[in-house]
């Protein structure tokens, strides 16, 4: 025997307390009589404590001692060896979207797996304990381990498997740890894992899936066309079955329900088609849905899209009018979409001479041309070590830098190089000369092109527009806000939370707290310059809020062809390779019949004691 609440044993101190009370208390209850002289005085007993005498074992004393003992036991909650043992079942539920598919009988694989789980829970009996986990990149618990069957069913009622395809190994490992050496472990899925999968030895796999035809939305892109000042919607529909299927695609505006796109396509089995349509701006939110016969999974038939916003990069060319740099710069920048000329003070990126160093303004990128200003003699030729140098290569480009994506510098003569004593981080270098480098010490976004365009053919090479386009696009990505508004489940989402004078700073200079809100549930986001939103597992619309105001919003949809492919689903049962020892776990039940019984006995004893104590009082009026 052991005690669930050993501190309750302190209640046994009530026993000597009761004995003491009986010893020192006037323990004779009063009895009102007439003719006291007939009872004499020779049998009078002095009150306890005046002299040492044996404690009479009255019924009251016995009842009170017994009640105290039973109550103390009830508080200490005694457990006999096997009384506190119950079977422990750990259920792992496949949370991938294919579990939401419907079988030919009309039931979803989710419902089938829950039915299987319910069977197992009933087999455990009332004392069984169940831990339910759902799979995912981060496995999570679906029900309270202490919940009874009814509570667990209530908690599981809201389970909607919608995750993209993911690895189950982490879930299996966690389940095996929770089950311990004695618990049962069962994995409910829609297909049996491969034979070489690292399935735990003691895990039973029950597959409830069924091969189905399915047509899915494999991708949906909604982009802004700055030339046409309209938006372009591109949807790819894939037939993941084996039979030709007629599909109807509709696109409607979420706010008004107006249908803006409707197309019918016939797709061969295993093939996909792309549907493209130009849509006007201002629709804000679009719902794309496909309908086909015999479709197995509804979750991949509908997506929500958020209208993209044109992210215009403003630039300023700050050269003297007679400069020969302005024209090739302007020509190349004109070919880059979603750019706009602005004042030097307001521009996102400034192209200027390197004669003067950039001001410290993190929100503005600075591209300097020519050598860094250095003290020179006012008359005469420059010193030998400051004479411009022309190079034809070879050039060393920093590998993988986004500015140099596509840049080769083949056949380029880099002219007018003047060595500079400033510390710079080279992006393009030749020998000891830094040709294109990032300035260090002043600002992170200041770059220096150590070149004299009049002595170089760079502006005539294909690398010139590529280099400028890379600069503009990188600047565009650094603009505050989301880079895109439509994502797929599991994709990493970044949100640029502006810096100098950006939207993250309130009027008093304090940084507002960012919140991510989905379906009325909000969670905090770190208020850094670039916010990386953790991997999302639920499709739908998400809002980014600061101080209760919406900053931006985006949509997350299930685009997972592998998960939408239901042809590989099957059913079956793979028993554990190794049986559990006892399939029981030591638990402490919340509702214990022994405690209840002891409490009832104690109550009965207290009531009996009350009646016994009350009897003498009644004698004063009832005549004994």
């Amino acid at each position: 025997m052991w005690f669930a609440n050993p501190w309750g044993l302190l209640a046994f101190l009530s026993i000597p307390t009761i004995v003491g009370i009986h010893l020192f208390h006037r323990r004779f209850p009063p009895l009102h009589i007439a003719g006291g002289h007939l009872w004499g005085l020779t049998e009078e007993i002095q009150a306890a404590g005046r002299k040492q005498e044996r404690l009479p074992l009255t019924s009251t004393l016995l009842l009170e001692l017994l009640a105290a003992t039973v109550l103390s036991l009830a508080i200490a909650q005694p457990r006999w060896f096997e009384a506190g043992r119950a079977a422990h079942l750990v259920v792992l539920l496949d949370d991938s979207a294919s579990m939401s598919a419907t079988g030919t009988d009309g039931t979803t694989f989710r419902d089938r797996s829950l039915a299987k789980m319910t069977e197992r829970v009933w087999e455990l009996g009332s004392r069984g304990r169940v831990t339910v986990l759902r799979s995912g990149v981060r496995p999570t618990s679906l029900s309270d381990p202490n919940a009874d069957t009814a509570e667990m069913e209530q908690q599981l009622a809201g389970w909607k498997p919608l995750q993209p395809k993911h690895d189950f190994a982490d879930t299996w490992d966690l389940g095996a740890q929770l089950a311990g050496p004695d618990g049962d472990l069962i994995f409910l899925t829609d297909h049996l894992p491969a034979d070489d999968a690292p399935v735990p030895q003691r895990m039973e796999v029950v597959a409830v899936g069924q091969s189905r035809q399915n047509v899915a939305l494999a991708d949906a892109q909604w982009s802004f066309d700055p030339i046409a000042s309209a938006t372009l919607l591109t949807v790819r529909i894939v037939n993941l079955g084996t039979m030709q299927t007629a599909v109807t695609l509709t696109g409607r505006v979420a706010s008004s329900g107006q249908t803006v796109l409707r197309k019918k396509e016939t797709i061969e089995g295993g093939r996909s088609v792309a549907v493209t349509g130009q849509l006007p701006t201002g629709l804000e939110e679009l719902i794309i849905e496909i309908v086909s016969d015999g479709d197995g999974l509804q979750a991949d038939n509908i997506v929500q899209l958020i209208e993209p916003v044109e992210r215009v990069v403003t630039y300023a060319i700050d050269f003297p009018a007679e400069s020969r740099v302005t024209e090739p710069l302007q020509r190349a920048l004109n070919s880059i979409p979603s750019t706009q000329v602005a004042d030097v003070a307001a521009a996102d990126i400034v192209f200027t001479s390197a004669e003067s160093l950039p001001v410290n303004r993190p929100a503005q990128w600075w591209i300097g041309f020519g050598p860094i200003a250095a003290p020179r003699p006012t008359e005469g030729s420059p010193p030998e070590n400051e004479r411009p140098i022309d190079l034809v290569g070879p050039y060393v480009l920093r590998k993988g830098h986004p500015f140099l994506d596509g840049v080769t510098l083949e056949g380029v003569v880099w002219g007018g190089i003047i060595p500079s004593g400033r510390v710079t981080a080279p992006l393009i270098s030749a020998g000891t000369y830094n040709l294109f480098s990032q300035l260090a010490g002043s600002t992170e976004n200041a770059y220096l092109l150590n070149i004299d365009l009049t002595r170089s053919n760079l502006v005539d090479s294909p690398d010139w527009p590529i280099l400028l386009s890379n600069l503009i696009e990188q600047r565009r990505q650094a603009l505050p806000g989301l880079r895109r508004w439509n994502y797929r489940l599991g994709e990493t989402i970044q949100f640029a939370w502006g810096t100098e004078g950006g939207p993250n700073s309130s009027a008093d200079g304090n940084t507002a707290e960012l919140q991510l809100v989905h379906d009325g549930v909000s969670r905090s986001l770190p208020s850094t310059n670039v916010v990386e939103i953790p991997t999302l597992t639920k499709p739908g619309l998400y809002e980014i809020q600061a101080a209760g105001k919406r900053i931006d919003r985006f949509a997350v949809n299930l685009f997972d062809v592998e998960e939408s492919n239901l042809t590989g689903l099957d059913s079956g049962n793979r028993p554990p390779k190794m049986e559990t020892r006892t399939a029981t776990a030591l638990i402490d039940a919340r509702h214990d019949w022994q405690t209840a019984l002891l409490a009832a006995i104690a109550l009965g004893l207290i009531v009996a004691d009350w009646f016994v104590l009350r009897a003498p009082d009644r004698a004063t009026t009832a005549g004994h």
């Binding site: 009102h32 003719g35 006291g36 002289h37 009872w39 005085l41 049998e43 004994h624």
Partner: protein
């Protein structure tokens, strides 16, 4: 109390067991010792001035030429005097069973006396003297007695706070559970009474106690306390003392030509009348 069903039933079934020749009382239904106006002829005597001329025996005058007066037996109602002990000791017992029976007995004796034309007086032996004497028409006040007296019956008699009637039929209702000299008490009660009936009222546990373990006994009258183990030995001693008290009261009553009877309140009035009051002749079946 006079409307009590048990009292009404007893009154309808019994009558007082009065002696054949009560000594005194107002004109009533019982024959007295003296001459009166009943129909029962007693004797002749010569006419004396002042005699009722309606009683002249004209036939005797014709025969003897002397005025003779016919004398008849007088008819009286006995003077009934009930001494009801209203001390606190009468409150012991379950739900005032003792005091209730005492009131029932007093009411019954009073009503039975009233049936014979008597004018009973109930003297409530209570030191508060709230209702010192109740007559036939005031029997309902018996139910208002609080039995809160602290003085014992002997003390009240010694203080002469209650004048006792001469030549009366005197009934004493008490538990006699107070320290006293039975000889002196009975002698005092019997003095100047033509008849004395003494009724001791106890309740069941007083008459026949049972062991109860340790108890703190509190005398309701004296408020004195004592802790006592109510074991068989203690109870036996109590019984012996009670029996000695009752025997002494009985002996003194016998010496005073009085009747002494002990009744147990738990038996109820009907059974008490039938089994306790009829055998000694206090009551007769009507």
């Amino acid at each position: 109390m006079k409307d009590d069903p048990q009292v009404q039933r007893a009154v309808s079934q019994y009558q007082l067991g009065l002696p054949r020749s009560p000594v005194a009382g107002r004109a009533g239904e019982l024959l007295g010792r003296g001459t009166g106006s009943s129909l029962e002829f007693l004797e002749h005597r010569e006419y004396a001035p002042g005699d009722d001329v309606r009683h002249l025996d004209w036939a005797a005058y014709a025969r003897s030429d002397a005025l003779m007066v016919r004398l008849y037996r007088e008819e009286i109602s006995p003077r009934l005097e009930i001494l009801l002990d209203a001390s606190r000791s009468m409150t012991s017992g379950p739900e005032g069973i003792k005091s209730r029976l005492a009131c029932q007995l007093a009411a019954m004796f009073g009503l039975l006396s009233g049936q014979t034309g008597g004018r009973p007086v109930i003297r409530v032996m209570d030191d508060s003297a709230k209702f010192p004497a109740l007559e036939l028409g005031e029997l309902q006040l018996l139910s208002k007695l609080d039995f809160a007296g602290r003085e014992t019956l002997p003390n009240l008699l010694a203080q002469r706070r209650f004048p006792l009637s001469r030549q009366s039929v005197r009934i004493v209702i008490s538990d006699f559970l107070f320290p006293c000299d039975p000889a002196g008490l009975i002698r005092r009660l019997a003095s100047d009474a033509s008849v004395l009936w003494v009724v001791q009222v106890l309740h069941g546990w007083e008459a026949d106690p049972r062991p109860m373990g340790g108890r703190r006994l509190i005398d309701v009258e004296t408020r004195s306390e004592l802790n006592l183990m109510l074991n068989p030995q203690t109870i036996e001693r109590y019984r012996q003392r009670l029996a000695a008290l009752q025997a002494e009261l009985m002996r003194q009553c016998r010496r005073a030509h009085a009747s002494f009877v002990t009744v147990t309140a738990d038996d109820g009035l009907d059974r008490i009348c039938r089994e306790s009051l009829c055998p000694p002749g206090i009551l007769r079946a009507g």
